[in-house]
């Protein structure tokens, strides 16, 4: 959570920190699964994310009993998704909205699904692992496996929820939810990995199940990962093979087992003959020069008055924080400069009459930043760095250019520009997946006017 946004919020839901909750954490940067453990109870009113969502669901269900007592049907549009057959749904580009071809859900337009919303039972459903897992199995990244026996085992052995005449494995307590995840995931349950490979055998006609043969008895519980770091086991969810301590390397599954890449040809592509890419001149990897400054259109309305310099404004990852997290910790502000300074070249600074640690005002059509200058020969001329993300809760003065209202953070100067050819899909190349792949924002590249500020107002 950003502290600055909290100041503008009507309701703040204080989330427990790493050592105040039981949770799982993983990443595609390594092949281990981490536990988060509640070493101490959450401070003051804070709760684990799980408890927060659960509490909202509970209150919501109470209100829904009165206001939305009956199930409601919703039509949900689902994007053509990564690692599904929809990735190759449209080999020739056509837009039915322009009279080209037919609108076919899941092929030339998003898929559609009718979903039943049982709002009155939202809390019950939050606490329960639904029967669909038992009946339909699980899968992701184009894989599938049955797990009815493990579902039944959870009913036998674990805590359960009884409601509406049915019994479900319980997700009510954080740690139980973690254990169910570990029990039903291929990377922590070798039997399910084996089944998932069996399913891939049917899809590819290749022999693959041997990759999980030795792991069929492998199980990982929350207590296991608390006791020691535990690695994943081989699974077709991932493209790297990691048996016997082998380091993870992507696509070893494809290379060594002959599993085709999910492209139109089944091979890796440098060349992409999609007309959209050809129009962009990006059908092969290519160098493209930076557009002229005015093409960015970020300085149309801004005036360069007095001793001002136009600089390219870059907002890289900072040294003293992870995005907005920890940067306002007293240790970090002390080891940096007590604020998030604007780094500029020493000769550029001399032109502006700016000495190290002077206050500067930086602005463009989108917003304004007031901070101190860190003047350094390390920075090339013509650019400036403002590490993201400073909080406006400390050390941010007011802006004379904006009628002496509080100046903004680094993103008050940036805007998002979607790169259009990254939205082209259905051609067996990159396709959308939630929090995994989507068009990049290119929001870290704009231009600003910088000037010295002799006096600051707080």
């Amino acid at each position: 959570m950003e502290d600055t946004s909290a100041l503008y919020s009507d309701i703040v839901l204080p989330a427990a920190t790493w050592y105040e909750k039981d949770d799982l954490n993983s990443t595609d940067l390594h092949s281990f699964i981490h536990p988060l453990q509640a070493a101490v109870p959450p401070c003051w009113e804070s709760k684990s994310d799980w408890r927060i969502f659960q509490s909202i669901a509970k209150k919501f269900s109470e209100l829904a009993a009165k206001h939305l007592p009956d199930p409601v049907e919703d039509v949900v549009a689902t994007p053509l998704a990564h690692d599904t057959p929809a990735e190759m749904a449209q080999p020739t580009p056509s837009d039915w909205a322009h009279g080209e071809g037919e609108p076919i859900p899941g092929k030339t337009m998003p898929g559609f699904k009718v979903v039943v919303r049982d709002y009155k039972n939202l809390y019950n459903r939050f606490n329960s692992l639904g029967r669909n897992v038992r009946e339909n199995g699980l899968g992701a990244h184009g894989t599938h496996y049955d797990c009815a026996d493990f579902y039944d085992q959870a009913l036998d052995q674990g805590p359960v929820e009884d409601w509406g005449g049915q019994r479900y494995p319980s997700l009510a307590v954080d740690k139980d939810a973690c254990n169910l995840v570990l029990e039903l995931a291929t990377v922590t349950n070798g039997e399910l990995a084996w089944r998932s490979y069996k399913d891939m055998e049917a899809k590819t006609g290749l022999q693959l199940a041997h990759l999980a043969e030795n792991n069929r008895a492998h199980r990982v519980s929350f207590a296991d990962i608390v006791a020691k770091p535990t690695r994943f086991v081989n699974s077709p969810m991932w493209s790297g093979l990691i048996e016997s301590g082998r380091p993870y390397s992507p696509f070893t599954y494809n290379v060594e087992q002959g599993v085709p890449w999910r492209t139109l040809t089944g091979r890796q592509h440098f060349y992409l003959d999609h007309p959209g890419y050809i129009d962009f001149g990006e059908h092969l990897p290519t160098y493209k020069p930076k557009p002229p400054t005015k093409e960015y259109g970020d300085l149309r309305l801004s005036q360069s008055d007095g001793r001002t310099l136009m600089l390219n404004h870059l907002t890289p990852h900072g040294k003293w924080h992870i995005h907005s997290t920890y940067g306002d910790n007293q240790r970090m502000t002390t080891l940096s400069r007590g604020c998030e300074p604007l780094w500029i070249n020493d000769r550029d600074a001399a032109e502006l009459g700016v000495a190290d640690n002077d206050w500067v005002e930086a602005h463009n059509d989108h917003g304004v930043v007031v901070t101190r200058a860190a003047v350094s020969a390390r920075i090339p001329r013509g650019i400036c760095l403002h590490y993201h993300s400073p909080e406006r809760t400390y050390s941010v003065p007011k802006s004379p250019l904006r009628g002496n209202r509080r100046a903004g953070g680094h993103n008050s100067l940036t805007r998002i520009r979607l790169k259009p050819n990254l939205m082209i899909g259905g051609y067996g190349q990159f396709t959308y997946h939630f929090n995994y792949w989507g068009p990049t924002g290119t929001n870290r590249d704009t231009h600003i006017y910088v000037r010295k500020l002799d006096q600051v107002e707080w």
Binding site: T4, L7, Y8, K319, Q330, R331, T333, T334, L335, S336, R337, G338, C339, P341, W343, N345, D346, D356, N357, A374, V375, S376, A377, R378, I379, P380, R381, R392, T393, Y394, S395, V396, P397, K398, R405, R406, W458
Partner: protein, 408 residues
């Protein structure tokens, strides 16, 4: 031969990424207290830069360490005659301006600001006075060459550079920098201990850790002035001198010091060195150019039966001798000769050694090396190259002078 043992240190600078995790670990464990806010028993500096406290290496100004006068070692900062005059004011003592005024923020404003049409913001306040302040310096102010015209350009180590070499510091394509993590060097000839009028400072017999007896300290602050590395601090709240204790409570329970334990780049090596205490004064009196080698000669071979026997005779435990035989510090300092003491000319005989950063050398010299054979050697043999990157070594080699380094 009077064999003693010391828990010694090597910092491998090519591996330091300047993350300051060491500083934060130390701060959280030891100096998160009133009066100690400004202390960083472990800090990391960007070089070139003026460091913390600012320009600590300028001994013309600070008068730290020892000098040789009439064949005798003498503290630069004080003497019996000077002490009387400097009781109330020592002109060479660092002041708060030389460190920084520790600050926090007026966070209460965020909760208590009256309703208005603009967002409140917390302003910096001094942790010493509680008053609003303008932040003008910090313990790591010139990080990553911040303010390079003011700080990097005034690094006392650069005084011998030519104008062309200085120009390099302000040219983005050619400049180089590296990080210098620092803790107390736990010297063999500590000027802080020698300077203390109360006898409150001592070097522990069993492991050489330099400590302040908090009960005997009488706030003379001679140690602050006498330490050329400025690794002794004065607690303005309780009136006692404080310094890095090499986390001895951790060491005594088999744990690495907090800064070693937390080091992300794993640049820090800890190990026992055996040395000959009888020769300390003789070595500290050597001319400048002989000091590095003389200092190294104090360190004894822990496999030598004579040394082992002498160690036993002077009460060094056999487990300590075994530790010395396995010591990575011994390898770096004595066997490979690639770890060097910082500012040996201060004559305190530091027991923290640095493997100099090679990366900067490759960029600044190797690429346009006047001698192509040297350039080839650099790429051919990393260890030799590192040795050549040591201060003064390149010049010595060009002149054909004898090298104090064993290049193997």
């Amino acid at each position: 031969m009077n064999v003693r043992s010391q828990v010694s240190m090597v910092f491998h600078l090519d591996k330091c990424i300047g993350c300051h995790t060491c500083s934060v670990a130390c701060k959280n464990v030891w100096t998160d207290r009133k009066g100690a806010e400004y202390m960083w028993w472990n800090n990391v500096e960007t070089k070139p830069g003026t460091g913390y406290p600012t320009r600590w290496e300028d001994q013309e100004d600070y008068q730290g360490g020892w000098e040789v006068v009439d064949g005798q070692l003498r503290l630069k900062s004080t003497s019996k005659s000077k002490l009387v005059f400097n009781i109330f004011h020592n002109p060479h003592m660092p002041s708060m301006d030389d460190y920084y005024e520790p600050w926090t923020y007026d966070y209460e404003t965020l909760f208590n600001a009256p309703a208005g049409d603009d967002q409140p913001t917390a302003r910096p306040i001094s942790q010493v006075t509680g008053e609003l302040i303008q932040i003008e310096s910090g313990p790591n102010w010139d990080d990553d060459l911040g303010g390079s015209r003011i700080y990097a350009a005034n690094d006392p180590n650069l005084e011998g550079l030519t104008d062309t070499q200085r120009e390099q510091l302000s040219s983005v394509e050619r400049l180089v920098f590296f990080y210098l993590p620092r803790i107390c060097n736990h010297c063999l000839n500590p000027s802080c201990v020698a300077s203390c009028p109360s006898g409150a400072m001592y070097k522990r017999g069993e492991d050489g850790i330099v400590l302040v007896d908090q009960n005997r300290c009488r706030a003379w602050r001679s140690c602050v002035a006498a330490c050329p590395y400025k690794q002794v601090y004065y607690n303005w709240f309780n009136g006692k001198a404080e310094k890095c204790i090499l986390c001895y409570p951790r060491l005594e329970t088999g744990q690495a010091p907090a800064c070693f334990h937390s080091c992300v780049g794993r640049i820090r090596y800890l190990g026992v060195l055996l040395y000959d205490a009888d020769r300390i004064e003789e070595v500290a009196l050597k001319p400048d150019h002989e000091l590095v080698e003389a200092h190294r000669s104090l360190i004894l071979d822990p496999h030598d039966p004579e040394v082992i026997a002498a160690a036993r005779a002077s009460g060094v435990d056999s487990a300590v001798v075994e530790a010395a035989q396995r010591s990575p510090v011994y390898k770096f300092v004595k066997e490979w000769g690639v770890a060097l003491p910082p500012h040996i000319e201060y004559r305190t005989l530091p027991m923290l050694f640095y493997v100099p950063a090679l990366a900067g050398h490759l960029f600044s010299r190797g690429r346009r090396c006047a001698d192509p054979r040297l350039g080839r050697a650099i790429s051919r043999h990393r260890r030799v190259a590192r040795a050549r990157a040591l201060p003064g070594e390149l010049v010595r080699r060009r002149r054909g002078a004898a090298s104090p380094l064993r290049l193997a």
